[in-house]
């Protein structure tokens, strides 16, 4: 009986298998017939909807006033899609399913899309009808190329072409109150930084009844990279090259944690921990806890990107605790090292918006991207609508008072009105660019940034006799424009040895550096040596060589190699 039944089952399986396969084939052919090829010109009345996936997107409808104006001008409506919960697998899954949106902003995953044939080459389109894009990129168009083997252009946009440097981000930041209490000292080195924290901490072991935290980091998730890894590079005077340290003249790349400067920084951090100056929960608390600690005003210093702590900053100002907000510091290991806070990486190609190979509206999508690079579009997306968001006074654009106010205080302003929302990651001129009448293309000028400092910032700046925090930092001219851009924007080939080794090295360093920092100072050297040995065992030297080649190829591709 048993055997008979299994024969039965076998027969059924075979029959069904054939049946299902046949059914699948049927479906494929029939769906092809269904696809409607409508060749109508899109217009404002009957807009064409393009789907757009942005790796940095948030939930939003394309229906704000600026969006409506864009539709009016181009006849294009966007359907915005975004990765849910910072999902890293969005692009791989998209490729696996073969179901692409019309426009894709994939950030670092663009290489996977190129390899999968999911996106099209834009060279011919740019040549034929990309006048606005050509004008915008000028001689930096080469920086959009993919690689030496395949010097085609797949993406446009993301970062501005002409950039001004009025702000820094990512270096150490110290509470304004610490500076005031200590009589506005000069803080240039880690040593001075630590001394300032210690002095204030001894004076005020508690703030508002809670324990004072001299330095807090957020190393429990991916933010390890921006609050632990990158600040080490800044202290060592290295420009941000992701996990790499690159010699800009030779193009030689080294996995950054192999360098002695980094050991020095983490040894200092280890000492901070041993002295009780580092928040013991730095590597375990969640982002929410971290932000609530900062918002309480009891964290004296951080090493973070400004955009990561925006919520805490707003909360502090709203609570009237302006003196508990933070001032950026050009702190480095010693006085001979220049802080790279204002480094000009040049126009960083590599990332950008691509058009999918399955899109039925590739031409329209390209025309839309090209239009976004026009002067008209740049004014619209940066300033909003004339008469509603800005007025023209004496031939110059002036932001309306309430818009200006909301832009700086209301985090939902961009989402609601669309003003500034469609600048990144679309093609953008950059905040240093001017339009045909010589006015700035961006409503934010350095003066605006200075005007928008809170009362504490203004007072501290006055005490230090400075206009803006950037006066503390070496100027972009002094630091020189990077010849290789930045490795953070490079596309590392999917599944390559370099990618796998780097991922393994990142996992290893995140874990072992954290353990070394939290460990006994007596064991630090030993722990560090073990990590270096482990890195060498996973063939980090091969990764160094491959990355060096990649940097040198990029420099050759861009024509910046000497």
């Amino acid at each position: 009986m048993k055997r008979k039944l299994s024969n039965w089952a076998l027969l059924l399986i075979i029959l069904l298998g054939i049946f299902v396969l046949a059914a699948c084939n049927d479906e494929e052919t029939s769906s092809e017939d269904d696809s409607n090829t409508d060749n109508e010109e899109p217009s404002a009345e009957d807009p064409l909807t393009l789907t757009f996936f942005s790796a940095d997107g948030t939930e939003k409808e394309f229906n704000d006033p600026v969006a409506q104006k864009i539709t009016e001008e181009t006849g294009i409506k966007l359907e915005l899609d975004y990765p849910v919960g910072g999902n890293d697998e969005a692009i791989p899954l998209m490729i696996a399913s073969g179901d692409y949106p019309d426009l894709i902003f994939a950030k670092g995953d663009i290489g996977k899309l190129i390899e999968a044939g999911g996106v099209i080459k834009l060279n011919d389109l740019i040549e034929e009808k990309g006048d606005n894009l050509k004008a915008m990129y000028g001689d930096q168009l080469n920086r959009l190329r993919n690689s030496l083997e395949d010097p085609s252009i797949y993406t446009v946009g993301t970062y501005g072409v002409e950039n001004a440097f009025w702000e820094t981000s990512g270096t150490f930041q110290i509470q304004m109150d610490v500076l005031r209490e200590l009589g506005y000292p000069e803080i240039r080195t880690l040593e001075e930084f630590e001394a300032a924290l210690t002095e204030y901490y001894e004076k005020y072991p508690e703030i508002d009844g809670q324990k004072t935290i001299p330095l807090s980091l957020l190393g429990s998730d991916w933010r390890w990279l921006i609050t632990v890894g990158n600040p080490a590079g800044f202290a060592a005077g290295k420009p941000d090259d992701g996990q790499w340290a690159v010699n800009d003249d030779t193009g030689e790349a080294t996995y950054k944690f192999l360098l002695p400067e980094f050991k020095e920084y983490f040894k200092w951090l280890n000492g901070m921990n041993a002295k009780g100056l580092l928040d013991p929960e730095s590597f375990t608390h969640t982002y929410d806890t971290y932000i609530s600690k900062l918002s309480s005003g009891r964290v004296l210093s951080i090493a973070d990107q400004s955009w990561n702590i925006g919520d805490a900053d707003k909360a502090l100002v709203a609570d009237g605790k302006e003196w508990k907000t933070y001032a950026p510091l050009p702190v480095t290991l010693n006085e001979d090292i220049k802080s790279q806070g204002l480094k000009d990486y040049g126009f960083a190609g590599g990332w950008g918006i691509a058009i999918s190979s399955t899109s039925e509206h590739q031409e329209e999508a390209f025309e839309f991207l090209d239009w976004m690079a026009s002067e008209e579009a740049q004014i619209l997306v940066n300033w909003g609508i004339e008469g509603e968001n800005y007025d023209i006074v004496d031939g110059k654009r002036v932001m309306q008072e309430d818009d200006r106010e909301r832009m700086n205080t209301d985090k939902d302003y961009g989402k609601e009105t669309g003003v500034g929302y469609y600048v990144y990651p679309f093609p953008q001129w950059g905040n240093g660019a001017v339009d045909s009448t010589g006015q700035s293309i961006s409503p934010n000028t350095e003066q605006d940034i200075i005007d928008n400092f809170n009362s504490a910032e203004k007072e501290v700046l006055k005490e230090y006799e400075m206009e803006n925090w950037i006066d503390w930092f070496p100027s972009p001219e002094e630091l020189e424009r990077s010849k290789h851009g930045t490795v953070s924007n490079y596309t590392i080939p999917a599944g390559s040895d370099l990618q796998i080794i780097q991922q393994k090295a990142d996992d290893l360093t995140e874990q072992q550096i954290t353990q070394a920092v939290l460990g006994d100072p007596a064991n630090f050297d030993q722990a560090w040596d073990k990590m270096i040995a482990d890195l060498e065992a996973m063939n980090i030297e091969q990764a160094n060589q491959e990355m060096t080649k990649m940097v040198q190829d990029t420099m050759e591709l861009w024509g910046t190699k000497e």
Partner: protein, 344 residues
């Protein structure tokens, strides 16, 4: 031809009632005998029997289709593990690489860390999860106050419906340095300094197991409670007459009565030992404890699909399936040997 077959073929138009079990078995053995002794080139008996059981066959058809479509056809995707799969090409245009991905996998020290952690946390979860559920069910079963029993049971399985994201946040907050657990321990004088639980790799497995027990005990106890409800009350009465205490009754009546349920559930769970998921580890873990938190699924996610290495991810999947099948076979044969309930 057996007597039964003759009888039915005599009246082919009559609707056939489902044959009783005994008769089916007899038909089965008869057919087997026939196959052994005489050749039947046309397979006449086979089709006859099929037409006789067509109602049963029709009824089972949807499930067989389901099984084939969702469980068997996808196995074809396993071939991917022997290719360097690139989604832009069709399945048959891929480059075949043989055992390359398996070799990569077995040469990777990280994989062994992941395997150790998966099995470690899997076994801990299985032992403590099963034990806590059985003990909890025993205690509930002894409660004579009915309303309280219902309430306790309902409350105890509510955490099952709470998502791991929330549970992980509760656990992290409770165990933080100024969290409730540390406050209690310090105020009781058991420790001098707050312990940073989440930064202790040696405690990670324990934390995962405990939070799992907290979340799932009530839910897992349901099936044991149901089994206990089926125990014949006469047994307890007889035991009482013999002077057995409550503990004795538990030990000698309740537990032996549900032994087969326990064993079947154990076998099924052991088969899933390696499939412990990764939510707990991903949500509770951090960079410090990663060496103890990395599990196979997390590894497959980060180094497989996350890096676009579908073939490598598939190889990990095959490895997991093979381990699962081996574990089930071992457990089943052990259960067979000790003469207890088994899965097949």
């Amino acid at each position: 031809m057996s007597r039964e077959n003759n009888a039915t073929s005599a009246q082919p138009n009559l609707p056939e009632p489902p044959p009783p079990v005994e008769r089916q078995i007899r038909i089965g053995t008869d057919l087997l005998k026939k196959k052994r002794h005489s050749k039947d080139p046309k397979g006449k008996g086979f089709w006859k029997r099929a037409s006789k059981q067509k109602a049963l066959l029709l009824m089972s058809l949807p499930f067989v289709i389901w099984l084939v479509v969702f469980k068997y056809i996808p196995i074809g995707g396993w071939l991917m593990a022997f290719q360097d799969f690139k989604p832009q090409f069709g399945f048959f245009e891929q480059e075949w690489v043989g055992w390359k991905h398996f070799k990569d996998l077995f040469n990777e020290p990280m994989f062994y860390t992941a395997l150790e952690n998966t099995l470690g946390m899997g076994i801990l979860g299985l032992v403590f999860g099963t034990a806590s559920a059985i003990i909890f069910a025993l205690l509930l079963n002894e409660l004579r106050f009915h309303a309280l029993k219902k309430w306790t049971q309902t409350i105890s399985y509510l955490p099952h419906f709470v998502s791991w994201v929330i549970v992980a946040n509760i656990v992290i907050t409770m165990l933080s340095q100024d969290g409730a657990i540390n406050n209690i321990l310090v105020s009781l004088g058991l420790i001098d300094q707050p312990i940073n639980f989440m930064a202790r790799p040696d405690m990670f497995w324990g934390i995962v197991t405990l939070s799992d027990v907290w979340k799932e005990t009530g839910w897992n106890a349901i099936i044991y409670l149901a089994a206990m409800a089926g125990v014949d009350p006469q047994l307890y009465e007889a035991a009482k007459v013999d002077g057995a205490s409550r503990l004795r009754q538990m030990w000698h009546i309740t537990l032996p009565s549900i032994r087969s349920v326990i064993i079947v559930l154990l076998i099924l769970n052991i088969g899933n030992l390696i499939n412990i998921g990764f939510e707990k580890q991903m949500l509770l873990g951090n960079n410090i404890v990663m060496e103890k938190a990395l599990v196979i699924d997390l590894y497959a996610l980060d180094y497989g699909i996350g890096m676009f290495r579908y073939s490598f991810g598939t190889a990990i999947g095959i490895f997991k399936s093979v381990i699962s099948v081996i574990l089930i076979l071992i457990c089943n044969s052990v259960a067979k040997r000790i003469g207890e309930g088994r899965v097949f």
